[in-house]
């Protein structure tokens, strides 16, 4: 087995995966909402880049706009729909699933069911020994690391992060301390949606734009959040890295169809033995 392309592949795929899970993890861990529309937020991010490119502007500009646009959509949805569901997480799942269907089929209608390509800001690959390494996938790895660190600092080092964590730990006390939990939740949801939009914008040149872009990621993303343990940002990231790395690494050694199943099997076994999440002991 060739080590360079293997390591690069595992890193690149895990990076995309972490990027997708970041937003989902923040919403799930901070608000306790399993957002089934997350895949469609990813899709909206990708669609924004496609629209921006269609007007003749470069795709990187679309990638900057994508998180903003999707965050606004997320904010509107939170104010109109999601906030009614905080007391009933199961209903929230169904509600977000309905939103997902509306968004997905809406975009499908706009695209006429077609597939479209979006060009990467960096085209081609560079040589490393006699291997070719994709420039854009390398850039995505770097951007993911930056975004990950940024999110961590936001949650741990800023006033807003403190308010978010406070609202999660004890909403009543947070409100008593003068924090508007309603606003904090809205901002958190918008942040999660914006991260999904960014993930969509960055990944669309690697795949192609179509209404089902976010679907294959959704179930595995939930798996990642479960693995990492609810209520922890670092846990979601670790879970995402693990699921992403296994998904990418297994097809190198076994049949891809079997690999797909095995990812779930491994995750279920881990959840069985570490129901509190991967990092539970470390946190306690």
């Amino acid at each position: 087995m060739d080590v360079v392309p293997f390591v690069f592949d595992v890193a690149a795929y895990s990076a995309i995966f972490v990027l997708v899970v970041l937003g989902l993890g923040i919403i799930a861990s901070m608000m306790g909402i399993f957002n089934f529309a997350h895949g469609e937020f990813v899709l909206l991010g990708a669609y924004t880049v496609y629209l921006v490119e269609g007007t003749g502007m470069p795709s990187w500009f679309g990638m900057l706009l994508a998180p903003l646009c999707v965050a606004i959509v997320g904010l509107v949805l939170e104010r109109l729909v999601i906030r009614r569901f905080y007391a009933a997480p199961v209903v929230a799942m169904l509600g977000t699933y309905a939103i997902a269907l509306v968004l997905r089929e809406g975009v499908r209608g706009l695209l006429g069911g077609q597939f479209y390509n979006v060009s990467a800001p960096l085209v081609g690959s560079f040589g490393l020994g006699h291997f070719s390494i994709s420039k854009w996938r390398s850039a995505v790895i770097v951007i993911t690391v930056v975004v990950m660190v940024g999110c961590y600092l936001l949650l741990v080092r800023t006033r807003f992060g403190l308010q978010m964590r406070a609202s999660l730990e004890n909403p009543a006390l947070a409100r008593a301390s003068g924090i508007s939990t309603s606003r904090v939740y809205a901002a958190t949801f918008a942040l999660g949606a914006g991260l999904a939009g960014l993930a969509g914008g960055l990944m669309v040149p690697i795949y192609s734009l179509n209404a089902d872009l976010g679907v294959p990621f959704l179930i595995k993303s939930f798996l990642a959040v479960m693995l990492g343990g609810m209520g922890s940002f670092e846990g979601s990231v670790a879970g995402a890295a693990l699921v992403g790395a296994t998904s990418a690494a297994l097809p190198w050694v076994i049949k891809p169809v079997v690999a797909n199943l095995l990812v779930f099997l491994i995750a279920i076994v881990i959840v069985k033995f570490r129901p509190e999440g991967l990092l539970s002991r470390w946190r306690s």
Partner: protein, 410 residues
């Protein structure tokens, strides 16, 4: 009446009104049948219409194929009506959205054959859809069924006619061309469902009988999106031809990763037998430069007949969902016209009479040239074209010598 009673009364009356409103909307939806469109012939006709049922995926993941299918059907039926209908009767098109959902589709085609009592059903894009609805149409519904998409073959149900290309038609001339213009070492990355499995079996036979070799045959979940392991195997084993049967959306990632690994640049040849003008949008043009495909029609055939049909289609429906071979639109065109010929020949719309006439129906001219049903096989002999993608468009590099045999149901 106390205040409370008054409020309760108002609530009750409101509930009643709401209930009536909702029931009304629901009844209206049920009566019209969601996902159904009836397109009546224009003008005044004395005779009762011949009913043509079109069941296709207007929504859901296969809508890229269903939308052009429905549009081409509408265009052809309008043309037939403008030319005086069939047997002096107009044609009425009843369109059902099967929504890329086999269970729903069975209900919809049951409506077509039982409630609307259509004289023929055309439609279905995927093989799983054909398998789901054929029994309802052909056996229980006792209705003629025409399936328009290129497919894996082996469908020999009586009264079920397949008007798209078969593996023999897509491989017999194409694979020798690939060996001459690519090389002998083949790799077969494929999506894990029926079409790639059966097609690969046939392709492997043709590859080996022409002195080629299959280095690898690999199956992926249909929505797989990371092919690095496979691309690495392809690059390190000196493969000349990647004969791809992975499908969108996964195919975009595969072609991109092959491009980034320099497969085509180092002399490799990409091949994919469903790639048509529509598929050119899936990846940027430079990533599939040199990709070869083999279908029953390309715009690049550039014949007066095809151009005229294309111009009319584009005038009517624009360019968003073009008329292409990979989306079964050419099969739909062929199916409707062959069926019309058969109705004229049989002077009846009864299933047995039409089927007997359809068994040897032919079109002197059509999309991609003439075509004819091979008697006793329910498949169609047609021209096949090998085309290569260059700068975002196709160039025809080889045309079959005469009509190619489907070699099914012999």
């Amino acid at each position: 009446m106390s205040q409370r009673d008054e409020v309760a009364g108002r609530v009750r009356s409101y509930e009643r009104r709401l209930f009536l409103q909702r029931a009304g909307v629901l009844a209206g939806m049920t009566a019209a049948g969601a996902g159904t469109w009836i397109l009546n012939p224009r003008g005044a006709w004395a005779a009762a219409p011949i009913k043509v049922g079109i069941a296709t995926d207007l929504t859901g993941p296969i809508s890229w194929g269903g939308i052009p299918n429905s549009q081409v059907a509408r265009m052809v039926i309008d043309e037939m009506n403008a030319a005086g209908g069939l047997l002096g009767r107009p044609l009425q098109m009843i369109l059902k959205d099967t929504a890329t959902n086999e269970q729903l589709a069975v209900t919809r085609v049951r409506e077509l054959v039982q409630k609307d009592r259509v004289d023929v059903v055309l439609g279905g894009i995927t093989s799983s859809m054909r398998n789901a609805i054929k029994d309802t149409i052909v056996h229980r519904g006792r209705t003629l069924y025409i399936y328009p998409q290129l497919y894996e073959g082996l469908e020999c149900t009586k009264y079920l006619y397949c008007t798209g290309p078969t593996p023999a038609q897509q491989c017999d001339t194409f694979i020798p061309w690939l060996i001459r213009n690519g090389g002998k070492k083949f790799y077969l990355p494929s999506a894990d469902y029926v079409w790639p499995h059966v097609l690969n079996k046939y392709a492997r036979k043709v590859i080996e009988s022409h002195g080629g070799e299959v280095v690898g045959e690999e199956y992926f979940p249909v929505d797989h999106n990371d092919y690095s392991a496979t691309v690495n195997k392809i690059m390190s084993s000196g493969v000349n031809v990647v004969f791809n049967t992975t499908i969108p959306p996964g195919v975009a990632a595969l072609f991109k990763q092959l491009y980034e690994a320099g497969f085509s640049k180092k002399g490799g040849r990409l091949a994919c037998v469903y790639y048509d003008e529509n598929a050119l949008n899936i990846t940027p043009a430079h990533e599939i430069e040199g990709l070869a495909s083999c279908l029953d029609y390309f715009k690049a055939v550039n014949d007066p007949f095809g151009n005229q049909v294309q111009d009319k289609y584009t005038r009517l429906y624009g360019t968003k969902n073009p008329l292409t071979a990979g989306s079964a639109a050419t099969g739909m065109w062929r199916g409707l016209n062959l069926w019309a010929e058969a109705v004229k020949g049989a002077k009846s719309v009864r299933r047995d009479a039409v089927s007997e006439a359809l068994d040897h129906a032919r079109l002197a001219d059509g999309l991609g040239g003439p075509c004819e049903v091979v008697p006793g096989t329910m498949h169609v002999r047609m021209n096949m074209y090998t085309a290569v993608a260059r700068k975002g468009t196709y160039e025809i590099v080889e045309k079959s010598k005469g009509l190619v045999d489907p070699r099914e149901c012999l």
